[in-house]
């Protein structure tokens, strides 16, 4: 593989543009808006909400502009050319030889997530205008919501791990504030704390992973790319260079993945996500669709080379990510069956879908997983906002499907239609968007040799279809029950109650019974459902190569890049040379072997060829799930078939399973009662014993000996020497004082005269000495 300058062609520079160069403005705008809302929000006519909405809209515009110019950029590249990300970096602070940068790393992945986040945030803010009208902390809600989006946007376009960590932690903080928005209720503040601490547990992994990567990659990146070991571009290239020690990179990948487990609600740290439903519904929608939980998936997708090499993706039949992802899919889908709270069903569904994303990433299906982030954001946001719409206008702020819902399809036609579209998308029914992403994941997982996990994926698809059918049936079909039947039960205080106190203003209108929500709520729903229906066509693999736009725009091309630094340091213009023509058509070595002359930024991944037969099979499984669940729901909830009702009480095994599910596999008990106690209690007891026996013993011995010594000292030293001196000096002072008494006249003028004459004398002496 000789790469002489004459062989390599010099390519024209890639197209760029204002939006791409200034993409760093996207998170800056919400950050400024946050400060403004906090400072002057309460004095504005709309209590600061207009600032939040405006900032999100301008971020969306910038992100969309950047997306358009990124598409132009990819089009300006030749087919096998690596599309350089638009990187800008500034020095943030320096400390002890470490240079912490701040900057943007704009490529297809970050553009995609930026657009999704800005878009969903905009809609959620508009929805919140109506949903939280009259709330007592309206301004603070919008401030936190804006900062939340800002944190996610900053994390997405971060060019180095430090800025990434900053955005990550901002989100952790804001999720705490938003989940605990109605903190007067004890359950809400507990949920907020739980979310915060659970995620923090995982965050330790992020810190460890970042530090490990920095210390092992820094030398290589400084030498080859002139960037620090925090740089995402540097780390990616380093991971694929063949230089890293395999143990180090494996441990770093595992540490980073632990952070993803915490953030993205993967098993076994998924327990915080369903509790996070305590927050206002728009928060749940934002948190579950585009921000926060996607962060963990995004981290894996962003630093994919590290995971690819560290966990030997494609090289083995199972690794940490696919195992965790697979477990998460199944256990959370099973939990969704026993929930009565509609938002909790959706929460477990999110956990399960995140499991799919992780499964895809772990099995080398990078593009389908990233595409699933994109499609999932739309339909999950739509489902959550739909649930909010029901509780807002029909079920008197209750989320309890069994008690307060049912038969709502007639009174809420818009909510019902959008819900059905999103549900079908979530189940992965053709041609809704979920089909194109989820089916691709399952297909590619099997194609890459993870056969067991493909089956788990299919089981998950079956369960998804079934529990969503159950939830849909309970909510929209059958007879109206409880609040949605008009029995406005003002005195009830069940757990799923959504801030009864803070919605007093609505209670009057609520007593009119269920009705369709206002425009500010339905318009976001309609927009989202249209996208849930159509966004899948952006990467419609069944229709051939020309439909795979995402592959063209988002997937980094796995090409060995030879960079010649052109006069001056890094960041100066680079001439990118391609390998000569014959090498282009051969398969890239990136990911599978050490690149010989250039640098790889992305591993070579396979794409499963689409087969209608496979799609039909998964479709059949989904429809089977829907049908079985529909029949069972009808029998159980409407006809109340005697053979089914109370089955869990009669059959012991089923009862055991049900109890296990209702108690969420006892994981909460394990964490709070067993782990926390077993660590905290012995530590406290040991500390007490140490205190009583050792510290006190030492103290008593010291005290006794001190008393004896002090007795002697008192008699001889204190009484004779010290007191004698003190008494004598006192007598002396007294006589001196009597002599000096007349000067203390109490007259300020006299004091001043003495002061100045003393100064004059001193000055005189000074002059005399100096001359």
């Amino acid at each position: 593989m000789s790469l002489l300058a004459s062989e390599s062609e010099i390519l024209a520079p890639l197209a760029s543009g204002w939006f791409l160069e200034h993409a760093w403005l996207i998170p800056v705008i919400p950050a400024i808006a946050f400060a403004l809302i906090i400072l002057i929000g309460k004095r504005l006519p709309m209590k600061g909400s207009e600032l939040g909405v405006l900032s999100m809209i301008s971020s969306l515009v910038l992100a969309a502009g950047a997306g358009y110019q990124w598409i132009q950029r990819t089009n300006s590249a030749t087919e096998d050319q690596f599309v350089e990300p638009v990187i800008k970096s500034w020095s943030w602070w320096r400390s002890g030889g470490f240079d912490f940068g701040i900057g943007q790393h704009i490529d297809g992945l970050s553009i995609l997530v930026l657009i999704v986040v800005a878009f969903i945030s905009t809609l959620v803010q508009i929805y919140s205008l109506e949903y939280l009208r009259g709330d007592r902390r309206y301004t603070h809600f919008f401030a936190a919501l804006t900062l939340f989006s800002g944190g996610m946007l900053a994390m997405v376009l971060a060019d180095n791990m430090m800025l990434f960590l900053l955005g990550w932690e901002i989100m952790g903080l804001c999720s705490f504030m938003l989940i605990g928005h109605w903190w007067e209720e004890d359950a809400n503040s507990r949920a907020a704390l739980k979310a915060f601490f659970t995620v923090r547990t995982g965050d330790v992994g992020l810190l460890v992973g970042i530090s490990m990567l920095y210390f092992s990659a820094n030398d290589w990146t400084q030498e080859h790319l002139g960037v620090s070991g925090f740089s995402i571009r540097g780390i990616s290239a380093w991971a694929l260079s063949g230089a890293p020690n395999s143990t180090v990179i494996t441990i770093a990948a595992v540490a980073l993945f632990i952070a993803c487990i915490g953030k993205s609600g993967q098993f076994p740290l998924h327990t915080w996500l369903p509790d996070a439903m305590a927050g206002p519904t728009p928060v749940s929608s934002l948190l579950h669709s585009s921000t926060m939980v996607v962060a963990g998936v995004y981290l894996v997708a962003r630093l994919y080379p590290v995971f690819f090499v560290g966990l030997n993706i494609l090289g083995s039949g199972g690794n940490l990510i696919v195992i965790i992802g697979g477990i998460t899919i199944v256990i959370s889908a099973a939990l969704a069956f026993v929930q009565n709270d509609i938002k909790r069903v959706l929460a477990y569904s999110t956990v399960s879908q995140l499991g799919y994303m992780m499964l895809g990433l772990g099995a080398g299906a990078w593009l389908p997983a990233v595409f699933h982030i994109f499609t999932h954001a739309f339909f999950k946001a739509c489902l959550f906002l739909g649930a909010g719409s029901i509780s807002h206008s029909a079920s008197h702020h209750s989320f309890d499907m069994k008690r307060d819902m049912g038969g709502l399809r007639k009174v809420m036609p818009i909510t019902f239609t959008t819900w059905i579209i999103s549900t079908l998308a979530l189940c992965g029914v053709f041609p809704f968007s979920g089909f194109f992403s989820k089916d691709e994941i399952i297909d590619n997982v099997g194609h890459n040799g993870y056969n067991l996990f493909m089956i788990i994926g299919l089981i998950g698809a079956f369960m998804t279809a079934a529990y969503m059918t159950r939830a849909t049936y309970l909510t929209f079909f059958g007879e109206p029950r409880g609040a949605s039947a008009g029995h406005a039960d003002h005195g009830d205080t069940h757990n799923s109650h959504d801030a009864d106190a803070s919605h007093d203003a609505h209670d009057v209108e609520q007593s009119h019974g269920p009705h369709e929500s206002g425009l500010l709520i339905t318009i976001p729903l309609i927009i989202l459902s249209v996208l849930a229906l159509s966004s899948g066509f952006l990467n419609a693999t069944p229709f051939g190569e020309s439909w795979e736009r995402m592959k063209l725009w988002v997937e980094p091309r796995s090409v060995e890049v030879v960079e010649e630094t052109h006069l001056g340091g890094p960041g100066e213009s680079l001439i990118i040379n391609l390998p000569s023509a014959e090498e282009v058509h051969s398969k890239s070595v990136c990911g599978s072997a050490q690149p010989e002359t250039g640098i790889c930024y992305a591993p070579q991944l396979n794409h499963a060829p689409f087969k209608w037969l496979k799609a039909m099979m998964s479709m059949a499984i989904v429809f089977l799930g829907i049908a079985i669940s529909w029949i069972l729901s009808t029998l159980l909830f409407t006809k109340r078939a005697p053979r089914l009702v109370g089955l869990t009480q009669r059959v012991k095994i089923l009862g055991f399973g049900h109890k296990l599910l209702v108690n969420k596999y006892y994981l909460d008990v394990l964490y709070e009662k067993v782990i926390v106690r077993s660590i905290a209690y012995p530590v406290a007891r040991a500390a007490y014993w140490f205190n009583q026996n050792i510290l006190d013993g030492i103290l008593h011995a010291i005290a006794n000996s001190t008393r004896k010594i002090s007795g002697w000292v008192y008699k001889n030293v204190d009484q004779l020497v010290v007191d004698g001196t003190v008494n004598n000096s006192a007598t002396l002072t007294k006589s001196l004082g009597t002599a000096a008494q007349p000067t203390q006249s109490g007259k300020v003028s006299q004091y001043a005269a003495l002061l100045f004459s003393a100064a004059a004398v001193a000055a005189l002496v000074l002059v005399i000495i100096n001359t």
Binding site: S745, G746, S749
Partner: protein, 99 residues
Amino acid sequence: MFVNQFLFLGAILFCIGVYGVVARKNAVLMLMSIEIILNSVNINLLTFALRNGSTDGHVFALYIIAVAAAEVGVGLGLVLLVYRNKKTISIDDLSEMRG
């Protein structure tokens, strides 16, 4: 440069200030006299700063102005409290500290 003239001005102001502090009975006038003393010091500092061509004296003068402002604030506060308690600001009436 006529350094002497500046120094004379500073000395004269200083003397006026000292006279004011010693001879005046009114607390406010005393405070004003102290200001005059501080400003005479400023003049001296600036004079020597100009002669030596350094900016240190200017910086010190600025500091003194700031400190003097703070000191007057405290002083006037004291005078105000004294007036409230004794209905007078004559210094001679304040001789509780007599030994």
